[in-house]
Structure formats: structure tokens, C-alpha cells
Amino acid sequence: MTTRTIAGKTVQVNDEGFMTDPAEWTREIAAEIAREEGVDPLSEAHWKVVEFCRQSAQDSGKAPTLRQITAGTGVTTKDLFALYPKGPAKKVARISGLGKPEGCV
């Protein structure tokens, strides 16, 4: 376990760079990670996904899977991959300050 400073705040991250404490997450951190991931700027549609993930993780303790995201937000699979191209599962989880999604679907 290590720490890094994102958007002026020191947070805990694991070996793969995922934040380990969702409570340390801020919207500024999300915007900063999104820039690193090449998803910039975060539009309203992006935020809708991030906010769903935050809520879902708060309720279940786990980062939602892509299918849970599409089912929960009404965002289509096509749109989700367009919003977060090249690997939405990891990108969305990272930007939302959560761990890797644990489910397979």
C-alpha cells in the first residue's frame, strides 16, 4: 500500500493505482484521474456513470460491473464504451475512486 497526491490531496492507492479508501475521493480527484486516463473533460454523461458507481459501491461495498452500470444508469453499452473508450471497466472504477470491479459480467 502506498500513497500518492492527486489534485492536491494525498490518498492511499494499491499497486495498480486504484484508490483503496472511497472516502478520500473528491470530484477534483476524479477530474484529475480522468485526465490521466484520457477522458477529458468529464461531461454530464460521464458524471452520471461515476455517480452511479459511487452510490452502488456505497450500498454494496464493491465497484459495479459494466452490466450493472448499464442496467443501473440506462446508459447503453455502446455509449458507455464511447464515453470511456479502451477499457471502461478499469477506467470508470479508477475515476470513481473504487477498486477493480469484482464480477465477471
Binding site: L66, R67, Q68, T76, T77, K78, F81, K86, G87, P88, A89, K90, K91, P101, G103, C104, V105
Partner: protein, 167 residues
């Protein structure tokens, strides 16, 4: 990150319900992780992508040594489903229904919907020319996820540098 994107290709040669899922699950995981996915459907695997077969995939308990009574929640340990029982009319339908119910319980979508998700996520899917000719399948028989019918040689060209998984 390397400039060249990681690529993975699946050759789907089986049309049984249980053998439909490995490529779908791994392919979906690959797309979620930013890996390019190509799927090539050949021989019985074409059942997964033909309109009249995709919703009727089955799993037969006959000669399947992994099929155990305990899968149905019975406290029977390693006791298998006897083959003579597997040939009773309706057993294959029952086993197929049972597996579909289990999958649904886990939130796993049916094959048709899964293919649509993969296609929407950017997976490229192709039918095998030789088998298509042999089975007499037409383009309109396929689900819309199938882009075209290609030869084995085309498949080799389009999967250069990819990791290939045969199922």
C-alpha cells in the same frame, strides 16, 4: 502503455450451451480492460450466432462426466446422473433449463444479449466460410453481430499479433 493495443481472438467451435459462455465471458472482460476482441465462429459454434439456434442452445447430461446430482442441490456428493437417466426424453431440456436458470440467478445475460453487448463494446465477429458453405447458412440467417463470413486465411491475417483461444 505500449502503442500497440493488446489483442485477443476466440475461435468458437462448439454449440452447446455450456461451451457458449467461455468466449463471451472472457471476451467481455477483455473489452472492459481495453483489449481488442475478435471472434471467429466455426462448425457448431455457428449455432451461437444464427437467429434460429441462439435461443435454443442446450446442454446434454448424457456422457457428461462432470454432471453430478449435487448440482441440483442434492446431498449426493460425487454421484453422477446415470447415462440411462440422461436419455429419458426431456432430460436435455431440463438440464438446459436448469443451467439457464442458474446463469440468470447470477445476473449473466442469455447468449443473444451477451453477443449484442460484445458487439456494442466493439468486438468483431465473423463466420467461418467453409462451414457456412457446408451448412448452407445465408447472411440473413445470422444475428446482426456477424460482420461477414471469412476464410481461415482471412482470420489469420486479421489476428496477427493476437493471442488466440480455441474453444
Amino acid at each position: 502503455m505500449a502503442d500497440e493495443n493488446r489483442k485477443i481472438a476466440f475461435i468458437c467451435s462448439k454449440g452447446d450451451l455450456d461451451m457458449a459462455y467461455p468466449a463471451l465471458i472472457m471476451g467481455w472482460a477483455a473489452l472492459g480492460n481495453g483489449i481488442d476482441v475478435t471472434m471467429f465462429f466455426t462448425f457448431w459454434g455457428l449455432d451461437l450466432v444464427t437467429k434460429k439456434r441462439v435461443d435454443r442452445l442446450e446442454i446434454a447430461p448424457v456422457a457428461n462426466t462432470s454432471f453430478k446430482m449435487s448440482m441440483m442441490g442434492l446431498p449426493t456428493g460425487n454421484l453422477g446422473i446415470p447415462n440411462w437417466m440422461g436419455i429419458i426424453p426431456g432430460m436435455t431440456a431440463f438440464a438446459s433449463w436448469f443451467m439457464k436458470t442458474k446463469m440468470k440467478g447470477l445476473g449473466v445475460p442469455p447468449v443473444r444479449e451477451y453477443l449484442e453487448m460484445l458487439s456494442d463494446g466493439g468486438a468483431k465477429m465473423y463466420g467461418c466460410k467453409m462451414t457456412v458453405d457446408m451448412f448452407g447458412i445465408k447472411q440473413e440467417d445470422f444475428l446482426p453481430c456477424i460482420e461477414s463470413v471469412v476464410t481461415a486465411s482471412d482470420f489469420m491475417d486479421m489476428t496477427e499479433g493476437a493471442q488466440i483461444i480455441f474453444i
